[in-house]
Symmetry: C2
């Protein structure tokens, strides 16, 4: 059992049947067909040689099949992570240089280490701090940046930049180099892919990119289109990648640490939400901490086989699932498929136009742009919208790292701010019942001597002084008050700061000749309060319910 | 009314009566007597010339009287802030150099700007992030460091260091220079002050330091003790400080920004808790945001009059209160008292032994060391204790800035961790009632088809995926489940991430043929949920109470 937790493969391999293999092989064939153009395209997007994308689709898939917990997730290069890889490496190294390619390998290794560590230490919850508006805004903005960055291949010009503004300025100033051939090829592929998405049945539509690749590669070779300004992928090394240790020098690793952490967290969040969605359809579930280990091993695999950072891809995983993949073996077969392609197809890939790959990238990422999410979030919560907007603007106009970091910081800050100014209400008895309600919203019975204050938040350091303020203001404004009852049904926690504040409130009320009572304290909270100075020195009593307090205290009213 | 909010002085000055003036003058006289040795001592502690302490006790007090909201708070140099000033400046400048003294002025200005800005922007809540265990641990550790740093004056040797370890090592290696005279004077004062604290009535005890100062100054002059190795304060400029603009060069300000921020926040937290405690005794309250402005103006005053950072001091404020200070005018009179002393007493101060000041510092700060707080916090909450311990250890053995920053970071992290793994319970009906209780703790009725899950925390991004996990695990483990009711009486917030998670849960349950219901949703939360996709596409219903849900759903059980 324990071994199975480390190697989930042991959970399904002993029962693996011929029937499973059939379904897995069909799914793997479809995934391989999708993965060939995607892996080439996302390597291009990351500023890496195209074979790096293929390498990242062999060993990582095989390792995920052993260590991963999802039977449907298709691991490999994906657009957002490719963009993040480029964003981390471009400021540090020349695009295309050996140092740049080595940087990608190191990023994969570091992400692998972070992910495995987070999995082993059961730190999967850390990914939760990437709130939904932040990740959604980040993906939308990244997709926009990716589309802009690929336009140069369609226009046949040079352009560069780390954010939308820089890319647009660079495109504009190089527009003189516009070439018709790449534009025709790119536009043709773009229209074909959009048409295929819209009019072909789902499964068949997924094969459109490989068709576009095959046809344009053939045309480029046959018509010699590179003579007319069509940039081709060019010759790439044939054969499988050699297994190598990545360099271990600290000065090469250190500048990549933050980038690798963000890549691993973003990749994990994406993967786990795809995995959970697909698992739920079969009433299964995946273990997030096991997922971390699986993805981490996949990235380590990419790191030792000259690859790039990988994670689960949405469209491929859905195809894998819909085609009926039964076990992670499907991923293993897909790895074999890509290995075969790497060995046999590389001579053909030399003639593949970059405009074709750019068009497949644009169609794939345009689907990630979710503008309705902006208005939906705006309507639902202004503060969530604020975090989302800051993420989007920084990602678009500064860089992806600052976008995501600012988004996370702002989400946490806004949450702390909200909980630091909790809702509280003076409540009174609804006549003829045992229920208490907010005096501002309902007609209720009151007793001027006894005030009931309901607190609608856990009490912790950030709102402890807020409570002191609220209570002292009540006491200062109601000269006739002799008893204050804090009604605590929604108080889920009371930390040490809040206890000190409550003790201070108790002391101050004692000095002001007001008794402090508690009511509706939850079991676990009461367990913790018992034995503290607050309870031993409490000026009043602890009541089970506000009504009990009312019954005992209201007398002289 | 609006003008009174900016200048609280307008609230009390028009009604100021002769009787108030009498009480204020008595209190001011006592405070002045305490403030003379304290201001000299805390300047020494901060590594500054003694007159800087006096200067920081004139204009700041006058400005606080105009802008502050507490009638009892005695502003001026205090031990913790003096230590923090030294900790910020020592790594940057040579102690005693002009740059060091200018640094203190800049720190005061920056703190003033931060405090006023926080007050105007109503950001007083930011101070709440200094949780009680962190501030308590920080004060205890700082007091230990202060005591260690003052031992050199008692031993008559040189020593330096930014933390306890460095100070002890430095003391040890310089122990050869031990001189008997400073030791005799210091120990004598120490014993006298401890005895005075213990055996003299409170009010009289507070005058002991000025007595010790007067007697030892006289002895030093009469017996020529400086010839026997007793370090004296030495000549200080006579007269009032000149008003000057602090230097505005950015390269002088920038390295002090973080330090100034910490000084202002710590100073504010200390002041406001003293102010609140004293105000409550008279059933008054102070406005924390107004306090920020008052303290900020005091620090700006210190900055333009060659002073050092200031805040409210505990012992002086209590004396001020107990002596019956009625209005902030008491602070104004004390400022006049110190101004008079600065003009007349400076020739005498030259003969004041440093050992005397060191002994007064040690006695004052030893009272701040709160070891029982450690065991109390340990018993109450392990995570609060963790934050406290880290603060103490870093403050003792690294430096005060890292101690407080790590403590704040850890407090926030631990709070987020706790809320990210919230308590939830499957609940069942207590037979014969309408109440539901945890199945693990109580004998309850259950229906295997309908599961009731109570959630004991607000739902937000950090626990949204935790909820998904919990729900999907329940569904995966209970094959017969057809209905899931989320019972939400303790859910005070549902943010945009949680809504997305709930929508995802709803979709997944739909695919798994399980209906999702909600019950006991609070009014404000329901207002927010209405109109979202969750409610419009909800697979089940929203019930007012768990019992309503039970009544409707239990049928085929």
């Amino acid at each position: 059992m324990r071994l199975e937790r480390i190697f989930p493969v042991l959970g399904w391999l002993p029962d693996y049947r011929r029937e499973d293999a059939g379904r897995d092989l069909v799914a793997a064939a479809l995934v391989t067909i999708m993965l060939i153009p995607q892996s080439l395209a996302y390597a291009l997007l990351a500023g890496l040689p195209p074979e790096v994308g293929l390498y990242a689709s062999i060993l990582p898939l095989a390792l995920y099949a052993v260590f991963g917990s999802s039977s449907s997730l298709s691991v490999g290069p994906v657009a957002i992570v490719a963009l993040m890889t480029a964003a981390v490496l471009t400021p540090l190294y020349d695009v295309g240089s050996d140092a740049y390619v080595t940087g990608a390998v190191i990023l994969a290794c570091l992400s692998g280490v972070f992910l495995v560590l987070m999995g082993v230490l059961r730190l999967g919850f850390l990914a939760n701090f990437l709130s939904h508006p932040v990740i959604s805004g980040f993906i939308t903005a990244s997709a926009v940046v990716i589309v802009a960055s690929q336009l140069r291949h369609l226009l046949g010009i040079q352009a560069s930049g780390n954010n939308l503004y820089e890319i647009v300025v660079s495109l504009w100033s190089n527009l003189g180099g516009f070439r018709a051939t790449p534009f025709a090829v790119g536009l043709g592929v773009l229209l074909f892919l959009i048409g295929a998405r819209r009019y072909l049945p789902a499964m068949l539509g997924k094969t459109a990119p490989i068709l576009a690749v095959a046809v344009t590669t053939f045309l480029a070779w046959w018509l010699g289109l590179d003579q007319q300004g069509l940039a081709l992928v060019g010759e790439i090394p044939s054969g499988l990648p050699a297994l190598t240790m990545p360099p271990l020098a600290a000065d090469q690793w250190q500048p990549l640490l933050v980038g690798a952490l963000l890549i691993s967290v973003v990749g994990f969040v994406e993967s786990v939400s795809i995995g959970q969605t697909l698992a739920a359809r079969r009433r299964q579930r995946i273990d997030p901490n096991q997922e971390l280990v699986g993805l981490g091993m996949a990235n380590l695999g990419a790191g030792v086989s000259a690859g790039m950072p990988v994670t689960g891809g949405f469209s491929r995983s859905v195809v894998n699932f819909d085609a009926g993949a039964r076990t992670p073996a499907a991923g293993f077969y897909a790895a074999l498929g890509i290995a075969l392609a790497t060995v046999t197809l590389t001579p053909l890939i030399a003639y593949l136009p970059k405009a074709t790959l750019a068009a497949t990238i644009i169609v794939a990422v345009a689907a990630l742009i979710d503008l309705p999410a902006l208005s939906r979030t705006w309507r639902y919560s202004r503060s969530d919208f604020g975090a989302m907007l800051v993420t989007i603007l920084l990602t678009l106009f500064h860089n992806v790292e600052s976008g995501i970091l600012a988004g996370v910081g702002l989400s946490i800050g806004l949450f702390l701010y909200r909980t630091s100014q909790p809702h509280s209400a003076v409540i009174g008895l609804v006549p003829g019942t045992e229920h208490f309600r907010n005096v501002r919203r309902h007609k209720v019975e009151l007793c001027p001597r006894v005030t009931f204050l309901r607190i609608d938040e856990s009490l912790y350091f950030a709102n402890a002084r807020f409570l002191e303020d609220t209570v002292m203001e009540l006491v200062a404004n109601q000269a006739e008050m002799t008893d204050l009852v804090l009604v605590c049904p929604a108080v889920n926690q009371v930390d040490a700061s809040a206890i000190e504040s409550l003790e201070a409130i108790n002391e101050r009320l004692k000095n002001a000749n007001v008794r402090l009572h508690l009511s509706d304290v939850k079991g676990p909270v009461m367990d913790q309060l018992n034995g503290t100075e607050l309870i031993t020195r409490l000026n009043g009593k602890v009541f089970l319910s506000a009504f009990d307090a009312w019954s005992e205290l209201k007398e002289p009213c």
